[in-house]
């Protein structure tokens, strides 16, 4: 007896309070989670793309964009001005660089490092070729940086033939590319959200058309626009939120693979020829930018919110036909 009463109450709650319009069986809602799942998948990728482009741009800006390369040819390859006792051309350049405002780091590259840099072009025996390799100095500059033309002139005077190579122009170009990619990704995100809202509006209208009679009965009984719209909006929000979670679940492995592949470009991790293992994929998720880690769970939440707002607006617009 008690069990039957409990079942009756539960059935009543399920059919009336939670779904007073019979929306559970209305057309439109069933496919909505599937469509929103696809949209959420694309949104998560767009979000990851936007964050990835921002990270790449920032990394390039802080890395190559903040460095200079100074090459000091060997005396045989350049005219040799008189030097002080025991002082080499490289020493003069290093002294000059270290005393220049706007330079935060000066690091001469060792012979072995030079050989490593040349190995891709000259092979493993690059050091045995007896090539007159220049001395190379990696210079880190501050945000303001030195006056580069003036610095180049002073270096040329100190050690004729010295070349100063700034990475700024191509890094600026890459930065512009990264920002453009980020904007494109954000635009795609906005487009996905707009399409999702449109689909939710269409599904809501389909549900509304199938429940028109009940809506008119409720309206006649004194239901407010909010009451009716809220029933539809909750159902749409639930369907969209569910779709958002499914879409996010599908997107996370893809984001993990992309993050693992992009890791060497935004960190000091070595580039491996082999594809990342499952363990490395899991580790790459932990290394995702905090902004992305926070924003990915926002995808289903946003889907649910878009579902609620879009359905509310659609139903309220329809209810305006009634007095």
């Amino acid at each position: 007896m008690a069990r039957r009463a409990t079942r009756a109450v539960a059935a009543r709650l399920a059919t009336s309070r939670l779904d007073g319009l019979g929306l559970r069986h209305a057309p439109g809602w069933r496919v909505l989670p599937l469509i929103v799942a696809g949209m959420a998948f694309l949104a998560a990728l767009a979000l990851a793309g936007a964050q990835g482009a921002a990270e790449l741009g920032r990394h390039w800006q802080q890395g190559a964009g903040a460095t200079l390369t100074v090459q000091i040819p060997r005396p045989a390859a350049a005219p040799t001005p008189p030097v002080a006792q025991g002082e080499t051309r490289r020493d003069r350049v290093l002294t000059l660089l270290r005393g220049t405002p706007g330079i935060s780091g000066v690091r001469p590259l060792a012979e072995a490092e030079l050989s490593d840099l040349l190995r891709p072009w000259l092979g493993t025996h690059a050091e045995q070729l007896a090539l007159p390799l220049p001395a190379v100095v990696a210079v880190t500059i501050t945000t303001d940086g030195p006056d580069l033309p003036a610095l180049a002139a002073r270096l040329e005077a100190a050690a004729p033939g010295t070349l100063t190579e700034s990475h700024g122009p191509w890094v600026r170009r890459l930065g512009l590319l990264a920002r453009s990619l980020r904007l494109c990704a954000l635009a795609a995100l906005g487009l996905v959200a707009a399409v999702a809202a449109g689909i939710i509006v269409v599904a809501t209208r389909a549900a509304l058309a199938s429940r028109r009679e009940v809506v008119e009965i409720l309206h006649g009984l004194g239901a407010t626009d909010f009451y009716v719209a809220d029933r539809f909006a909750r159902r749409a929000s639930r369907a969209a939120g569910l779709g958002g979670m499914v879409g996010l679940a599908l997107a996370v492995p893809v984001v993990a693979v992309l993050a693992a592949l992009a890791a060497p470009f935004v960190s000091t991790l070595p580039i491996e020829a082999a594809l990342p293992s499952p363990a490395e994929l899991a580790a790459s998720l932990a290394r995702l930018p905090p902004t992305l880690l926070w924003s990915l769970p926002a995808v289903p939440v946003s889907a649910a919110m878009i579902g609620y707002v879009a359905a509310q607006l659609a139903v309220r617009a329809w209810l305006r036909r009634l007095p």
Binding site: S16, G222, L322, P323
Partner: protein, 225 residues
């Protein structure tokens, strides 16, 4: 309670109304609180349209209609739902919500009024007892007879103790016994102070329950009293 002054009604989309014919023309009448009116006239006379106006399902396109002190033509849209909750309506085709149980159909107006779940059970049960439907409370309305469905509709209409009760051909789908039982319920509501307006073309029913009437013909009021 009801005060109509030169009320006219046209149907149609906004803007196209001016070209549509007036289904109600220059209606002027008043009904005091606790009054009873038959609403008479042949099919197409405008009875249902007048009930739509009185149920605030349409606004007059001209003239002035006051219900319980509210000017229906001038009132803000958000002020109309509370007004509708003070009006009960019984339709010839019942208009019950088929996926809800009898209990939930009757409880619907209370839920719309914001009554807590724990506080509505006693009122709904009492109302179902009053109309003799306690045993079918958990059934869907589609499983009930026409008379039982009409009683559910009555219970739903009066559960909020409306100040105005409207009925559109309420006995149209009922046999004589059920119709008489319905009339008793409506008259009991009227005795309790509710203003009742019953539209019908069943003159035998009117003869058995004589009372003041509003008679319409081609959208005009041809008799009041």
């Amino acid at each position: 309670m009801i005060r109509a002054e030169g009320v006219g009604l046209r149907y149609g989309e906004s803007g196209a109304e001016a070209e549509a014919p007036e289904v109600l023309q220059s209606l002027s009448f008043s009904v005091p609180g606790g009054g009873w009116r038959w609403l008479l006239g042949p099919s197409g006379a405008g009875k249902s349209s007048l009930l739509r106006l009185l149920h605030v399902q349409a606004r007059p396109t001209r003239g002035r209609l006051q219900l319980m002190g509210v000017d229906v033509g001038e009132a803000r849209r958000k002020d109309l739902p509370p007004l509708r909750r003070r009006i009960g309506m019984v339709f010839q085709d019942f208009r019950l919500v088929s996926h809800l149980t009898v209990f939930d159909n009757v409880a619907l107006p209370l839920r719309l009024a914001g009554r807590a779940e724990g506080q509505l059970r006693a009122d709904v049960t009492e109302m179902l007892r009053w109309v003799g439907l306690t045993k079918v409370a958990e059934m869907r309305p589609t499983l009930l007879s026409g008379g039982e469905q009409q009683r559910v509709a009555i219970a739903r209409a009066v559960i909020v103790r409306p100040l105005l009760l409207l009925a559109d051909e309420p006995t149209g789908n009922l046999d004589d016994v059920q119709a008489e039982r319905l009339m008793v319920l409506l008259q009991e509501m009227n005795r309790l102070g509710t203003t009742v307006i019953v539209a019908t073309h069943n003159m035998q029913l009117v003869d058995r329950h004589p009372g003041p009437a509003l008679e319409l013909a081609r959208g005009r009021l041809v008799h009041d009293g």
